[in-house]
């Protein structure tokens, strides 16, 4: 088992406090050589339901060349045109950047399908629910923009960190193709196991760096749902992985990391 904690966005130097979202990605290596890869975020719903809407969101969020910041009018127009973002925006209003990776829940967001030996299909979502429930240190307020990594290392010196893998089963009429809609709270949830995190390594040198956490790398028994975001994530992650590894291989045409990109 290898995993990666991250904050979302395209800027690898973004301060940890700049967004309230954290992510956990995992690669389970099974004894039969198959793998289960999952990339999860610390919010229960995704802002949009389709790759087209996500593209529109990215365009609306582009920094205005004049101000260097996204244009609020464009963002407002995007949200007005996309009422499905309401659940995410309601979450984002109260969400605060956490002081720790360890205290966060991580949701699969997209729906997957568990398939039993007889071929019976059960749509599911999963969540990694943290054991740690403290408010966290005040590391973020001391000016360190990379406080999440420091907090993680600090906590691991005290002992392993744990999450419960909770699998929620859909009722027959629950939507399976819409990551903006959470299922009702009364759906049956199964405690499927405990993730025990024992060691962490920096991502520049650790084994987590060279893994593409493609959500469609699934073992027998787990299949993709009809959620259109899943193939889009798979395709976009494949492109991103090729760019990252091309950079690593120093191939012509690939990005060269330089001090100028550091902000």
């Amino acid at each position: 088992m290898v995993g990666r904690f991250a904050i979302p966005g395209s800027n690898p130097y973004a301060p940890d406090g700049s967004v309230p979202i954290r992510s956990m990605a995992l690669r389970f290596a099974l004894a039969n050589g198959q793998q289960w890869r999952t990339g999860m975020n610390s919010m229960p719903v995704f802002p949009v339901a389709t790759p087209q809407a996500f593209f529109a969101q990215l365009q609306a969020q582009q920094p205005d060349p004049a101000t260097g910041k996204p244009n609020p009018a464009k963002l407002a127009a995007f949200f007005a045109a996309h009422p499905e973002t309401a659940a995410f925006r309601a979450w984002a209003k109260t969400a605060k950047p956490s002081a720790s990776f360890a205290t966060e829940s991580y949701w699969s967001l997209n729906v997957f399908v568990f398939v039993d030996a007889k071929g019976k299909r059960q749509p599911v979502r999963w969540r990694m629910a943290p054991e740690a429930a403290d408010a966290g240190s005040d590391a973020g307020r001391t000016g360190d923009t990379d406080y999440l990594a420091a907090d993680l290392a600090e906590r691991l010196t005290q002992g392993p960190l744990r999450w419960q893998l909770q699998v929620t089963l859909a009722n027959p009429d629950d939507p399976t193709n819409d990551a903006t809609k959470a299922w009702p709270d009364d759906r049956r949830t199964i405690d499927a196991g405990t993730l025990v995190l024992e060691r962490a390594e920096p991502q520049d040198s650790g084994p987590c760096r060279d893994i593409n956490y493609d959500p469609l790398v699934l073992p027998a028994g787990i299949a993709a749902s009809d959620d259109p975001l899943l193939p889009a994530r798979s395709a976009a992650y494949a492109d991103s992985y090729l760019r990252r590894t091309s950079e690593e291989a120093r191939l012509p045409g690939s990005a060269a990391p330089s001090a100028e990109t550091k902000r």
Binding site: Q34, L216, V217, L230, P231, A232, T245, S246, E248
Partner: protein
């Protein structure tokens, strides 16, 4: 198998036309899947991998058939340069139809992916996990695909030139009728 000296053997002809359809489909599946973020990306990818392995297996059979049954000779009056081009393009096509699936398989191995041909059939890795090797092999896979497409176009143009302009029996030797 007995065959007239002026046509390819039945096995060679069946393999040729079957693989022509598979490889041409594969080239379009490949460019289609990398150009799409829709559900097509996932299902084209699901076809791409087992189809690639099928092409690899057929290419091995075909190479054996080719070595066992030499093809009918090219027309005696064909200019030496065209003969050379014909032979070079045959061997380039053989090389690419063997190399493309192997590079794809090695590339997924280097990327640390399980090489899944379906929901549960998995091939073993044939290359150690390495991000640098993945990047090189992935670019090689795309580059060779382009080379294969260009070689296919030249091959088809030459076949039509032999069949429609020179009418020298080269095309009919693969069609199987005179």
């Amino acid at each position: 198998m007995k065959a007239a000296t002026n046509t390819f053997t039945l096995a060679a002809r069946v393999l040729h036309w079957l693989m022509a359809a598979m490889i041409l489909a594969m080239l379009f599946i490949g460019v289609g899947m990398v150009a799409s973020v829709s559900a097509r990306h996932a299902w084209l990818l699901a076809i791409h991998k087992p189809l690639g392995i099928a092409i690899l297996l057929l290419a091995v059979v075909r190479l054996a058939v080719r070595l066992r049954h030499p093809p009918p000779p090219l027309p005696a009056d064909l200019p030496a340069l065209q003969k050379l081009a014909a032979r070079a393009s045959y061997w380039l096509l053989y090389f690419l139809m063997l190399a493309m699936p192997l590079i794809g398989w090695a590339m997924l191995s280097a990327g640390g992916y399980p090489v899944m041909l379906g929901t549960s059939l998995r091939l073993p890795p044939i290359f150690p996990a390495s991000p640098v090797a993945f990047a090189v092999l992935r670019h090689l896979h795309g580059g060779f695909a382009m080379l294969l497409f260009l070689t296919f176009l030249a091959h088809m143009a030459a076949a039509l030139y032999h069949g429609l302009i020179r009418r020298d029996g080269v095309l009919s030797s693969m069609l199987g009728r005179r």
